[in-house]
Symmetry: C2
Amino acid sequence: MSYQSYFSKHDCKRILPPTWVHGPYPPELQRRLSLLDPKEWITMGSGTPNKDFFSVKNITVNHSIDLHYHKDSKDSHINSFFIGEEVNQNDVQKSDSKIEEVFEYSPDPAGLDSTFEIIKKLIKKFEIFKDFKSDKMTEDDYDYCLTSGTSASSYYLCQILLDESKTILSEELTFTGIMANVSMTRANIVPFNLNMEANDENNENPIDVNYLAHLLENWSSIYPDKAFPTLLYTIPVQNPTGLVQKIEHKREVYNLLKKYKILIMEDDPYAYLTLTNELRDDCDLTSKTEFEVQKQVYYNAMRKAGSYLSIDTDGLVIRCESFSKNFATGLRLGFIIGPKPIVSRVKNYIECSTREISGLSMTVFNQCCKGMDELLCRNLKTNDIEQFDGWIQWCINLCILYRHKQMFLYNELTKKSTRSGKKLFSCLKPTYGMFIFIKLNLEEYKSKALEDPQALSEAMQYMDYKLLENNLEAVVGSRLTVSVEHSFKKCGFVRVTTSQAKDDKQLIECSERVTDAIEKFFDEYLTDKQPYPVVL
Amino acid sequence: MSYQSYFSKHDCKRILPPTWVHGPYPPELQRRLSLLDPKEWITMGSGTPNKDFFSVKNITVNHSIDLHYHKDSKDSHINSFFIGEEVNQNDVQKSDSKIEEVFEYSPDPAGLDSTFEIIKKLIKKFEIFKDFKSDKMTEDDYDYCLTSGTSASSYYLCQILLDESKTILSEELTFTGIMANVSMTRANIVPFNLNMEANDENNENPIDVNYLAHLLENWSSIYPDKAFPTLLYTIPVQNPTGLVQKIEHKREVYNLLKKYKILIMEDDPYAYLTLTNELRDDCDLTSKTEFEVQKQVYYNAMRKAGSYLSIDTDGLVIRCESFSKNFATGLRLGFIIGPKPIVSRVKNYIECSTREISGLSMTVFNQCCKGMDELLCRNLKTNDIEQFDGWIQWCINLCILYRHKQMFLYNELTKKSTRSGKKLFSCLKPTYGMFIFIKLNLEEYKSKALEDPQALSEAMQYMDYKLLENNLEAVVGSRLTVSVEHSFKKCGFVRVTTSQAKDDKQLIECSERVTDAIEKFFDEYLTDKQPYPVVL
């Protein structure tokens, strides 16, 4: 039976760009892939932290099939199981969460008050509103709303703020989830340019502000058929490039957007993962003094990047955070901070649709967050810490772990990039987050790929084939852009992440496979050695 | 700053009917309400089971702020806390869920495979497809998708199946969440009549099939401006009336809809809560023989109601289930079963928007479901049970507990209904679920309220005032209808639920307050005794 006539006429326009999808494959590649050992498969594609990055090591559940009508129930009527590692529990403390918070509806579909409280304190602690100054509003004019992560947040915000008569701006290379979100509103999405030369040394703005200024100034001649934008989407610790907007860069962008009263959706899941060298990995974890020093180092690194919220004089900024990268993706927990009138509409949307997030997720998060203070106190042998300093220690530890992985892979790749005798690729040195951006040297060694968007897409598809043949998943640049047409000259790259890598040994193996795939790409593509055609 | 120009032009049309909202209040009522003791407040409004209905008694979490770069971590680096009751854990078993299932993204955004497996087995066990026979499709032509509950399910389905050019049919009295879902698609919603005379004895169809047949046959003259419906929404264990469609009633409705190829969205969260007297509350819970008898009794009760799926010869049925009522609302866990082409579009929608549900919720559900078998085996002192018989025992226990509460309140209310010397109200005898429908005798004692929709709405608002003055929350009929205009003669009722009531004592108190409120309503409303006006 065909269901075509039953579907909403809008349904066919809801499209997730296939960032995580591979293929189509030519038959010969299909044959080769079928010979690979699935156990040897390594993914460097999805930014899901592996279990080394989980704070929770063990969850034990005690449950019963008895109900209170059967009053003689004893603990023998309790079944106990655990998920995770076996641990020797000592001194299990009763938490201040009620079990109703876990298993009943939250009184407020936008989230549990107890979780809001923690989030507000974390926001204060991290000085997200640092030096906030406005003659139009105060911090109290912003509100909070929990969601199941930044994907959900940006989905809701697009639903609230876009329709078929509106336009949203996005970095030309980006997390393509936003394109799915926009496709569901039938709004226009228009890319703006990144400045790929920006780095920590030259301190240039990773957003090409001149381009953006020119675009806005000449909008009606450049995009005569599209409405002037009302919203800009940005990932300040950029995905996929890893470029980082520091607070002075944000100010530059903000001042431009303010002129046009364009709202800013700041999608900042990697904000807390600084890779700064100033965080020491040989700290005495039992020393309060050393902790305080590290904490200030961490704060300083955070402040360098800052948030658009801290400079939001005009109430234009909506910030999306997530606990996916610094706590656990599987909890599905994130939040939005934005001007009250906007957040109130998000809450309305949630009430009308999916109705809130898991009470179990919120409560476990709450208590872990509090428990981290307990752990820090135990390490430091003092109760003299500030609330949620434990969370800071946790974030610092995460940063050090990520820095190790990121720099290790960066160094390995950089070392191998000239192995063939040619400089086939170069990596952007990561300073935040979990991605490494590997730029292929197409200009010099495969310039045909840069001739037009189609040529680039085909080349990158072949690049993906080579990665897959090496039993490795990564994401090629043509799948991480708003428009290959607009950005094809910048799409000659591979994005890898270290978040799933188990250890240094595996990172070496990763760098080996990536390098080999790139070498084969340059060696074979568009030559007689190419064993199969590209299918798009 | 006004954000009006930023909002999607569709946003203002997203409206959740204020079922759970009270007011507006006249000043005198406001004063009276401010004097009430909030600690004495009782809610009979929301169908959230209270903690007596939770299987999980204790969740213990063991977590750390150390990461593996700090390899000397021992269990002393673990903090342990619990939520819920203190229990003596004995023999904690390692579950077969990996911690990655809890804390990483599910590989499939539609849910964990492990959860799907359980759900499919439960569906088989409960014979949801019993006697399924079709020459057009097989059970394999249906697919499954997890969601965060039936609210989310019906939201997604409306997004997939409705648009501004379509029409959905709904029972005239209903869960108003569906109206919010429909409002977001800008489709038309049209009520069809319930047969309020239907009951367990006369076995009449609670859906007024003659009305529905007439409506469909004469659609273009009755609703000349609305598209012919493509979808019908039904709650077979009806909310708010508690009326139950048995399988023969479903067949009657299905055969009618089949003629017109109208899809059916079966929203069935209360399906597993039968209140049948045949389930014994004095069972020997250690006897395998008695368990087997009870299990057959339970199955028989289930079969009497059945599912539209079992009679779906033409692939028109989409079933929504939820674990909110028989496990825990706070987990946010439910699922959809429907024809593959439809479910595949739901999955696409989820991928493009909210992206999956909590791994923690799914995994804890999985393991509790399995652990119930362990508990049953322990009770029965045998391992000779079928898989998920433990879940059956759990459901049976829930049913017995609900039956007790429901019948207790029903009897109390029925006893008190003539206390004033007049039969002021009557209750529909509940046979499933957690609601009691209290019909006010407006015809005899307050017929002015039935004169027109406005009169009814005002009367019901006053009824709500009286309930609130008694420090009691319930839902009045005018807030549980698709259209007061269409249904005002049936809206003279109060819906109460026993799911939050702690014990018999509180149920007596509830019945007292409800009766008192109703008596005051009849005594005061539209007379000189009425102390304040109605504000709408």
